[in-house]
C-alpha cells in the first residue's frame, strides 16, 4: 500500500481522491452562496503568491508556497471588498478587475524571474505532485472535512441568512473569513493538479451535479463528494491509459460528463423526465382534440358511428395518424372499433362532451367577461380547453349562470355532476 502510494499512479490517484473530496465539499457552499466567480477569481489571484513562494524558499517547499498563495488570495479578497464598497461596482465587474490585475502581476513575475516548477501551477501536472505535496493535500482536505462536519450548522445559517445568523450570536464575519481561507487552500492545492483555469471544474461541477440530485444542502454535500471523487479518479485513470494524456483536462471532462448524466437522469427536474412529461402532454392534447372532433361530427350527423376517412378529412390529419389515435382510444376503453369505422363508448362520450363543454364555456366566458368578439374566441378556446380543471369548469358555469347555448348557437353539453344530480 505504502509502496503503491509512491508510484506515479498511486500518487496521482490519492491526490485525485483528496481533491475530489475537498473540492466537492467547498464547492457545495461556493455554489449555494453564489460565489462560483469568486472561486475563479481566487485561482487567478493567488498566482503572484505562488510565484513569490517558489522564489522565496529554495526547493519549492509546499507549505511556503501555500502560505504565500493564501496571503495573495486574502489580499485580493480585501481589495475586492474595498473596491465594491468605495465605487459601488457590481461584484462581477469588480471580480474581473481584481482577477486580471493579480494574474497579470503573476505572469510578469514569471517572465522576469523564471521560477522553476511554476508550470505545474499554471497548467496542472498531477505527475509533478511530490510526497510533500501529498501530505499537505491530505492535511488540508482533512481540515476541510472536519470543518464542514463540525461547522456545518454555522456555515449553513451564515450562508442562508447572515442577518439571522448574527442575531443568533454567530460571528458571521469570522465564519466567512474562515470559509474564504479554506476555499483559498482548496484552490491552491487543486491548481497543482489541474491548473489555474480548470480549478473551477473541481469546485463547481461536482456541486451543480449534486444540486440535480437533491434539494437539501446536507445531501448535496455527500453527492458532491461522490461526484468529485468519481470524476477526479476517472480523469486520472484515463490519463494513465496512454502516455501523454493530460490529467487536469481529463478530470474536468469526466466531471462534466457526470454533470450531464445528473442533468439528464437526476430526480430533480431531469431533462429526460421533463421531455417525457411534455410528450405525454402532447399525446393527451391530440387525443382530446380527436375525441372532440369525433363527438362534434357525430352531433352534426346524429349518428353514433364514424368512418376514419371522414374524421381524417375534418381534422386534416393523415388517416394513419387518426388510426393510431383511435387505437389508443380503444386501449383506454373510450372507443370501440365497428365495421364502418369506430364508435365512442359511454366513457369516451363523457370525456368528449366534457371537452366540448369546456371549450364552449370558455368561449362564452371570453365574450361576456373579457369583451372578446365572437369570431375571436375559437382559437383561444382551442388552447384553453385542455387546461381547464373540473373545479374551474364548475366555477365558470356558476359565474355564467349555467348557460345552455354557446356564442355560436351550439348547445353546451351538461356537466357530469349536474346530469347525475337530476
Amino acid at each position: 500500500m505504502i509502496e503503491w502510494l509512491h508510484t506515479a499512479a498511486g500518487t496521482a490517484m490519492t491526490a485525485a481522491f483528496l481533491l475530489g473530496i475537498s473540492g466537492g465539499l467547498t464547492g457545495v457552499f461556493v455554489v449555494s452562496r453564489r460565489m462560483a466567480l469568486t472561486g475563479d477569481m481566487l485561482s487567478h489571484a493567488v498566482l503572484p503568491g505562488v510565484v513569490g513562494g517558489i522564489l522565496w524558499g529554495p526547493g519549492r517547499h509546499p507549505l511556503v508556497v501555500l502560505g504565500c498563495a493564501v496571503v495573495a488570495g486574502l489580499v485580493a479578497a480585501g481589495l475586492l471588498m474595498a473596491l465594491m464598497r468605495s465605487t459601488r461596482l457590481k461584484s462581477d465587474a469588480a471580480l474581473g478587475i481584481v482577477l486580471s490585475v493579480f494574474f497579470a502581476l503573476g505572469l510578469a513575475m514569471i517572465s522576469k524571474w523564471k521560477p522553476g516548477g511554476v508550470q505545474a501551477y499554471l497548467f496542472g501536472q498531477a505527475a509533478a505532485i511530490s510526497s510533500g505535496d501529498l501530505i499537505l493535500l491530505a492535511c488540508s482536505s482533512g481540515v476541510v472535512v472536519l470543518g464542514v462536519i463540525f461547522g456545518f450548522r454555522v456555515l449553513l445559517v451564515s450562508s442562508f441568512d447572515p442577518q439571522h445568523a448574527r442575531l443568533l450570536g454567530i460571528p458571521v464575519g469570522w465564519v466567512d473569513r474562515c470559509f474564504f481561507i479554506a476555499l483559498s487552500v482548496s484552490v491552491v492545492v487543486a491548481m497543482q493538479a489541474v491548473g489555474v483555469v480548470l480549478v473551477s471544474a473541481l469546485l463547481v461541477t461536482p456541486a451543480i451535479a449534486a444540486a440535480r440530485m437533491s434539494r437539501r444542502l446536507v445531501s448535496q454535500a455527500w453527492w458532491a463528494c461522490g461526484f468529485g471523487v468519481a470524476g477526479a479518479l476517472v480523469g486520472v485513470w484515463l490519463s494513465l491509459l496512454r502516455p501523454g494524456l493530460p490529467t487536469g483536462p481529463l478530470m474536468a471532462l469526466s466531471l462534466a460528463v457526470l454533470f450531464v448524466a445528473a442533468a439528464l437522469f437526476g430526480p430533480r427536474d431531469g431533462l429526460l423526465q421533463r421531455g417525457l412529461g411534455r410528450m405525454r402532454q402532447r399525446r393527451r392534447i391530440d387525443t382530446e382534440n380527436l375525441l372532440k372532433s369525433a363527438w362534434v361530427l357525430m352531433e352534426e350527423r346524429a349518428c353514433s358511428e364514424l368512418a376514419i376517412d371522414i374524421l381524417a378529412e375534418r381534422v386534416g390529419v393523415s388517416r394513419k395518424g387518426i388510426r393510431r389515435c383511435v387505437a389508443s382510444l380503444v386501449r383506454e376503453c373510450d372507443a370501440e372499433l365497428v365495421e364502418s369505422g369506430f364508435s365512442l363508448t359511454p366513457s369516451g362520450r363523457r370525456r368528449a362532451s366534457e371537452i366540448v363543454r369546456r371549450h364552449r364555456l370558455w368561449e362564452l366566458y371570453l365574450m361576456r367577461r373579457a369583451d372578446y368578439a365572437a369570431d375571436h374566441v375559437h382559437d383561444d378556446a382551442e388552447r384553453a380547453e385542455h387546461w381547464i380543471s373540473g373545479e374551474m369548469e364548475q366555477g365558470l358555469a356558476k359565474m355564467l349562470n349555467h348557460p345552455d347555448v354557446d356564442p355560436h348557437g351550439s348547445i353546451i353539453p351538461r356537466g357530469v355532476e349536474r346530469e347525475e344530480g337530476r
Binding site: S32, R34, R88, F150, G151, R153, V154, L156, V157, S159, F160, D161, Q163, H164, R166, L167, L168, G169, I170, A211, S214, R215, R216, L217, Q220
Partner: protein, 255 residues
C-alpha cells in the same frame, strides 16, 4: 421603578450610501404590545429595523434593547425578513429553516438533537406548516413562505420580534392566521414590531403605531395616531428642508 423599554431609540440618525435614511428618531416600545411601523416607500422603515438589529451603524444617537446596547442584547431579537431579500433557491427544506431558529442556544460544534427538532416542529405546527416540513422552500406559495419564517422566529423564542412587510403578497386567510399567532405572542408578553402598509387593517391589528418618514411623524396608541394630519405629514412627500439639511450633514460628515 419604571419598566425598562424593550426597544429604545434616542436621536437616532443613520444613512445608507450617503443618503440619510433616519433622522432624529426617538421612540420607546414597552413590553407585550403589537406595534405597526408605517410610512411611505423609502421612509426608512427597513433601515430602522436594521439599526435595531445592529446591521446599520448609526451616524449619531443610539439604540438600546432591554436597556442594553444592541451588540449585547441582539440575541434576544428574532427577525422575519422581507420576501425579496431571501434566496428562495437555496437548498433547504421547511424543516431546515425552522431548525435554524433553535441554533442560538447550541454550541457550534454540537449537533441539533431531539429537543431542537421538537421545538422546530412545534413552531411549524403553530403556523400550520408541519405537513410541509420536507418541502424545499422554493416550492411554497408566498403565504406559506412567510409562515415558515414566522415559525423560525417562534422556534427562536425571542422577546422582541421584528417583521419586515410580512403581509406583502399574502392572501387574506394567511394574513389573519399570522395575526392570530402575533396576538398569542402578545399575550405571552412578547413585543412585535411589524412594517405594514395597509392603513385599514393597521387600525385592527396594532396597539401602537409608529409613522416614519425619515423622522418619527407620530407615535402612540393606534386611534390617536391615525389622524388625517399625521397621514398627510407622512405620506404627503418628504419634508424637503429636513431632507436637504440631513443630506448635506451626511455627505459633509463623511467627506
Amino acid at each position: 421603578m419604571k419598566e425598562v423599554p424593550v426597544l429604545e431609540a434616542h436621536d437616532l440618525c443613520a444613512s445608507y450610501r450617503r443618503r440619510p435614511v433616519l433622522h432624529g428618531v426617538d421612540v420607546a416600545l414597552p413590553k407585550g404590545v403589537l406595534v405597526g411601523l408605517l410610512g411611505p416607500n423609502g421612509a426608512g422603515k427597513s433601515s430602522f429595523l436594521k439599526a435595531v438589529m445592529g446591521e446599520l451603524k448609526p451616524d449619531s444617537g443610539w439604540v438600546k434593547l432591554f436597556g442594553e446596547p444592541v451588540s449585547r442584547a441582539r440575541h434576544r431579537v428574532a427577525y422575519v425578513p422581507q420576501r425579496e431579500s431571501v434566496d428562495w433557491d437555496f437548498p433547504v427544506t421547511v424543516a431546515d429553516v425552522a431548525m435554524m431558529g433553535t441554533y442560538g442556544g447550541l454550541a457550534w460544534w454540537r449537533r441539533a438533537g431531539a429537543q431542537e427538532r421538537g421545538r422546530a416542529m412545534e413552531a411549524l405546527d403553530r403556523v400550520g406548516m408541519a405537513s410541509f416540513a420536507r418541502q424545499p422552500i422554493g416550492e411554497l406559495s408566498g403565504g406559506q413562505q412567510q409562515r415558515v419564517f414566522l415559525a423560525r422566529a417562534l422556534a427562536q423564542d425571542s422577546e422582541l420580534l421584528l417583521m419586515d412587510e410580512p403581509f406583502a403578497g399574502v392572501d387574506a386567510a394567511t394574513e389573519e392566521s399570522i395575526v392570530d399567532v402575533l396576538r398569542e405572542l402578545r399575550s405571552a408578553g412578547r413585543t412585535v414590531l411589524v412594517v405594514h402598509h395597509d392603513l385599514q387593517t393597521a387600525r385592527r391589528y396594532f396597539d401602537l403605531l409608529m409613522i416614519l418618514n425619515l423622522r418619527v411623524v407620530a407615535f402612540g396608541a393606534t386611534e390617536e395616531v391615525l389622524t388625517s394630519g399625521n397621514l398627510d405629514a407622512a405620506y404627503g412627500g418628504r419634508l424637503t428642508l429636513l431632507n436637504e439639511v440631513a443630506s448635506r450633514s451626511v455627505v459633509g460628515g463623511k467627506m
